[in-house]
Symmetry: C2
């Protein structure tokens, strides 16, 4: 059992931490973006790894819970704790430096609180790129992005957050520092604790710094939006593109017409430059080496797709602003979704070849539950769909409260039945603890609980996240 963090407990730290570490928790620490949870806790904002270690030693000793807080952008409640003994909220916001950049190694080292956009800028200044890219990049912090193994738009080509990380500095539950901040591309000395910490959502340790891979900037990039006859045709088009340019396909996003229709309905600007608006579209981005023209490659892919009966219409960006306009359609859909208000949102993945069947079965099954609209979009190349269910025009999510649980269960059961995941990129947090218990492999869950007990015997790290406390 954990003890609550009290002001008396916080005061015991005053001779061990500088004044700057003591702050008032604000709404940004106690709420999460979707407004489903309101947390509680007393805030500490350490300025160094040693200060994090000091706090964790004290919390471990006093058996006080610690909720790590990065940018607060997570979508599954991993960053707020609303039940149980009041925890310390451990903000990494003051540890936001890029410590070092090693351009000749394609490596940079950032503190856990460094904001993703700043890491991207540092890589750009070094003539490289940091490929992790997602909607919240202006506020999400790398410690949280790694703790949740964030995905985003470039996973197809560059992998998720995990794939960008070479080494970690981590403070353990006992307040020891693991100096694992290696810049090595290969190191087979012992268990892969790096990948264990990545995706553990702060329940096994606190990521205070990371050595990150930068990637070479492709010599040229190109973007296109192609109508496709069906989700199956979209997959065939992906295979066709890869036959031609290998894995230089950097993004392959599926868009159903519901997304652009939501944009229009909610008064949001970006428009699809195809008339008539297709039922299904894919947004394709190529990043090519020197000597190839992205426009030529995209044209060749389009012509082959037309010949194969996969596509009948499309637009290839001929400037950066045209490319940005195409991307704006994709990137504004989540905001349109928020304005409409979903009955239930899902972040599922299924094996690539099952995507069309999942979509074909999901629609009729959901519509049997009620008069709903489905906005299915996302990272098709990764088999990862944001499959969100909405009320019809003129009605609100509140009208559908009674079927919400059923909708979620139907979608999750369907994905699970295809061998899929009920959290492809958002993680478990507190929202999906029950889903993990329901769908998770029993041997996996046993091992997870054994590891949690071994590394955090008092259960102080992010209590109730991922695993029930």
């Amino acid at each position: 059992m954990l003890n609550p963090a009290t002001t008396e407990f916080i005061d015991t730290l005053r001779d061990r931490l500088p004044e700057a570490a003591f702050r008032e928790a604000g709404p940004e620490h106690l709420q999460e973006p979707r407004g489903r949870y309101t947390g509680t806790g007393l805030l500490l904002a350490p300025g160094s790894t040693e200060e994090v270690a000091t706090i964790l030693r004290a919390c471990h000793e006093a058996r006080v819970g610690v909720v790590p807080h990065g940018g607060g952008t997570g979508l599954v409640g991993g960053q707020v704790m609303q039940e149980g003994a009041t925890p310390v909220i451990l903000s990494l916001a003051r540890m936001d430096r890029i410590r070092d950049v090693y351009p000749s190694e394609n490596v940079l080292v950032a503190e856990g609180g460094a904001i993703l956009a700043n890491i991207q800028s540092a890589a750009r200044e070094a003539g490289r790129m940091f490929p992790l890219s997602l909607a919240s990049e202006g506020s999400a912090r790398i410690g949280g992005l790694l703790a949740t193994n964030a995905g985003g738009l470039n996973v197809l080509r560059y992998g998720n957050a995990r794939a960008q990380c070479l080494g970690l500095e981590v403070v353990t539950a006992q307040g020891e520092v693991w100096h694992g901040l290696t810049r090595l591309y290969k190191d087979n000395t012992g268990y892969d604790l790096r990948d264990l910490m990545i995706g553990a959502e702060g329940t096994l340790g606190i990521i205070t710094a990371a050595a990150l891979r930068m990637a070479p900037v492709p010599a040229a990039s190109g973007t296109a939006l192609f109508q496709v006859a069906s989700p199956r045709a979209a997959l065939d088009l992906l295979a066709l593109a890869r036959d031609r340019v290998g894995d230089n396909v950097t993004a392959f996003e599926l868009i159903h017409r519901q997304g652009p229709e939501f944009l229009a309905e909610t008064g949001l600007e970006p428009r699809v430059p195809l008339d008539p608006l297709p039922d299904w579209m894919v947004l394709v981005e190529l990043g090519l080496p020197e000597g190839l023209s992205p426009e030529d490659s995209l044209t060749a892919i389009f012509e082959a797709a037309v010949e194969a009966g996969l596509s009948e219409d499309g637009v290839i960006a001929s400037s950066e602003s045209q490319a940005a306009a195409l991307w704006a359609v994709r990137e504004t859909i989540p905001e349109a979704n928020r304005r409409i208000g979903s009955i239930s949102s899902h972040d599922i993945s299924v094996p690539l070849s099952s995507v069309p069947d999942f979509i074909a079965e999901g629609g009729p099954a959901l519509r049997a539950l009620g008069d709903v609209r489905i906005n299915c979009f996302g990272h098709l190349g990764d088999g990862n769909l944001h499959y969100n269910v909405f009320p019809p025009k003129g009605r609100s999510r509140e009208d559908y409260e009674h079927i919400r649980a059923k909708v979620k269960e139907l979608v999750h059961d369907l994905a699970h039945g295809f061998g899929g995941s009920v959290s492809a990129e958002h993680g478990i947090g507190r929202l999906k603890v029950g889903d993990l218990e329901r769908y998770g492999d029993p041997a996996k869950l046993s091992m997870m609980r054994a590891i949690k007990a071994a590394l955090d015997p008092h259960g102080i790290l992010n209590p109730g996240a991922v695993l029930r406390g």
Copy 2:
């Protein structure tokens, strides 16, 4: 404390396992390639995951050690146990099927005993490639390759074994089966047990099957051998190549003239087609998308390298047989090394920008210990050098026995001093347990021991490998 595997213990399994599972251990199970260890044990060769589980349940209950055995090609004694209570040797050789191939998903599923070359063939037949490639691919088995997170020739572009794996089926120490054989590219539901098992060298679980990523075959490949002025020039040439073709550089191998000289000295065939023989060379391979000529790209890279003063000579393969001849030089060097007989071999990595300093400091320091020859070659693009120390011509490794420990310590201390690894790709096995204790981070070692105790409380899995029993 573990109990020895006795014939009585084995006999208790006869009613639970088919006759085919009972075999005599042969030399291939009791020796390792370098002849440094001779193991002991009673052999079991299960034919299915359920049989593996049966064996592990019995061993867990009886506290009998289990040494997993794949292809037996490991170089650090992870596959043989020569001390302690006689273990069961668990051979995966009968579980060698490719279970399924999913070309449209770029995924195949193989049993733990599947031989790497057969996996490569299955991928080729599906019009894809399986990029893991190393000298022992004709006998190494995927379970062992994953358990040791094997590296090899294509890590620069495709990553090591870890990066090829989507999902695992694993039998735990308690004989439970974790059905984690997912074909998903994205799945953020809980701790990353896959990567924990990968590289754990059979000490945390037995890998009975794996879902593996296949990669698109590059539309065209090209190979060249360039003289370079120095290791620093080699790194600059790599940067230059990447500026032009991004990460379509699929291999970048450093070769010191000592390697080709050893080939000549030991009567091995391949010759370097450059005259005079340069002090330093790099073997470069590009895998390019449609529309680019590898020869043109390599020529452009060479011309730029000459202009930058990095290279003065080189040869670009104009046929597959010429490319194979260049690769033969690199691939035959290990055999020449074996024929010469090393005083001490090392599989180190350092941060990329420290490679030249490591090489500059290592030579004089070693020659201060004695009259030695150094063959430094390997995966420069990964910062991974096979840095092997040999006697001068006419003398043998036995003459240098007295300095062997000092040589190893010097090389390992030097690599560690640069923030490097003393086992970049071979793992810890039993050979480097002391190195891990000497160089490993204390917090990392504590966590490793806690995880080992949590997942394998009786310590039956590969006793004495990675961590002291």
